[in-house]
């Protein structure tokens, strides 16, 4: 079983590896367990974004600010850029209704300290020459940044291992028992057991099944997102792009902005972002299909249809791959971070939906402070696993 441990982290995606690194840096002896290979979960099937503009004012937006600052410090500590880039972002506006709602939303975001503005068609076209004529305006923020998930995970792994963090892959957790001495015993597929006073459930979309092993309830639902990857091409315009339509239908339930049948059925919205490898990730869908990670003809066609609607010139660009990831979604759109009531030493750090890359450092730091008993300025009640009351598995 190896040397005694202080924390067993279940789940080796970006949240698990980041948490393992911060805990190890705080002097804890940590083992990170993953049932799959490197980045087999959502962390390996998503875009690179540290995105502000899609966030409603509130804790998610605040935590994204803090997370960006942490990334900047980690880049210095690790002496590794991890392909961090600050290209900025534009949310594309197609009609008057969207413009009215986005004007209001931008005002709110600015009051929350987000440096975002509305720009007209001419400026939008200057920043993104491939834009379709029907785009009437856009938001623009230099805050939206990105970092390469694979570089980040490899850096957390390398730095953590250097400090003694263990990483065990391809060996899933099959049971977690509570021992008499108040330790937890985590039993893996090959029979090895890992014992420690603290267990962190960082299993993303699979966090519910880990929680049930200790009788806890984590109301996370997998939400499939299909993504289509282009071939490597020189940069298309300055910034990454999203469409206002989807955001508006979320912000204003009764708004006159309507989605097409395809957009409703697939939960389609535009996310057009440049990867570290020079390819463009085009997405994405939002489908409740359980743990099925396959791609579909409807999904791929839907994404291409949507993208060409906003960027017609992309028609001559080739696609090399389609993939899907499972976003871990919570009922209130906020992550689950904290110790479970009545289960001392059992923590959950999961449920980041589409923001796992952006929020990994701040999640890991707060989780590590919780486990180590360090003082935390902000209250984390909003994120507590116990906020769902007597949640039952409906």
């Amino acid at each position: 079983m190896g040397k005694a441990l202080d924390v067993v982290v279940v789940g080796g995606g970006i949240i698990g590896l980041a948490s393992g690194y911060f805990l190890t840096r705080n002097g804890k002896r940590v083992a990170v367990l993953d049932k799959g290979g490197f980045a087999d979960g959502a962390s390996g099937a998503c875009d690179d974004m540290i995105l502000f503009q899609s966030k409603k004012p509130g804790i998610n937006l605040e935590l994204t600010f803090e997370s960006l600052e942490l990334y900047k410090r980690l880049i210095v500590d690790f002496d590794d850029s991890m392909q961090f880039k600050n290209l900025g972002g534009m949310v594309l506006i197609e009609n008057g209704e969207e413009l009215a709602i986005m004007e209001q939303f931008v005002k709110e975001q600015r009051s929350y300290g987000l440096d975002v503005e509305l720009i007209d068609q001419k400026d939008a076209r200057k920043k993104q020459p491939f834009l379709s004529d029907h785009i009437i305006a856009s938001t623009y923020s230099m805050m939206d940044s990105q970092i390469d998930p694979f570089h980040v995970m490899r850096a957390f792994e390398k730095q953590g291992s250097a400090l003694g963090m263990q990483i065990i892959r391809r060996n899933g957790v099959i049971a977690i028992e509570r021992l008499g001495n108040a330790n937890w015993k985590v039993i893996t597929a090959d029979g090895t057991a890992y014992e420690a006073p603290a267990v962190v459930n960082a299993a993303g979309a699979w966090a519910p099944s880990i929680a049930t092993m200790v009788g806890a309830v984590v109301p996370i639902v997998p939400k499939r997102g299909q993504i289509v990857l282009s071939e490597r091409i020189p940069p298309i315009g300055e910034t990454n792009l999203w469409n206002a339509k989807y955001l508006v239908t979320k912000l204003h339930k009764g708004s006159a902005v309507t989605l097409s049948a395809e957009e409703v059925e697939l939960g389609l919205s535009l996310a057009f972002t440049r990867s570290a490898g020079g390819t463009y990730l085009m997405g994405s869908t939002r489908e409740y299909v359980g743990y099925d990670k396959s791609t579909t003809i409807a999904g791929i066609k839907g994404i291409i249809n949507l993208t060409l609607g906003y960027l017609p010139k992309m028609k001559d660009v080739g696609i090399v791959r389609a993939m899907a990831g499972l976003r871990p979604e919570t009922p209130d759109g906020k992550m689950i971070l904290g110790e479970h009531a009545g289960l001392d030493g059992f923590y959950t750090a999961a449920g980041h939906e589409g923001d796992g890359i952006a929020l990994a450092p701040i999640t890991a730091k707060l989780l590590s402070d919780l486990v180590c008993g360090n003082r935390i300025e902000r209250t984390l009640d909003e994120l507590s696993p116990n906020r769902f009351g007597e949640a039952t598995n409906e």
Partner: protein
């Protein structure tokens, strides 16, 4: 395959220009399957999606770690299996062109 250690600068992945050295370093860092090495180095993420290099990478991992080949493979198999222009993925075939 000439002696491995000497040719660290030799390319293994033609599309993404990933060298033998980068792949060996990734293996030594614990990335010991074709999928792991792809995500750690981009080898296999290029235009041909690993068709040219996955088998070679599997052999290098197997030689370096002693793992049998079938533990190191398979790579991931995602569609489309050929690079297709976005316009081609979309444009319907008109009625007359295809028969019944």
């Amino acid at each position: 395959m000439s002696d491995e250690t000497e040719n660290r600068d030799m390319l293994i992945c033609r599309c993404e220009e990933v060298t033998l050295g980068e792949i060996l370093d990734a293996i030594d860092d614990g990335f010991v399957t074709v999928k792991d090495v792809k995500r750690a180095t981009r080898a296999g993420m290029g235009l041909c999606q690993g068709r040219s290099c996955s088998r070679t990478i599997a052999r290098i991992i197997s030689q370096r770690t002693g793992k049998p080949l079938d533990e190191v493979l398979p790579k991931s198999y995602r569609y489309p299996v050929r690079p297709e222009k976005m316009s081609a993925a979309l444009s319907e075939e008109s009625e007359d062109e295809s028969d019944s």
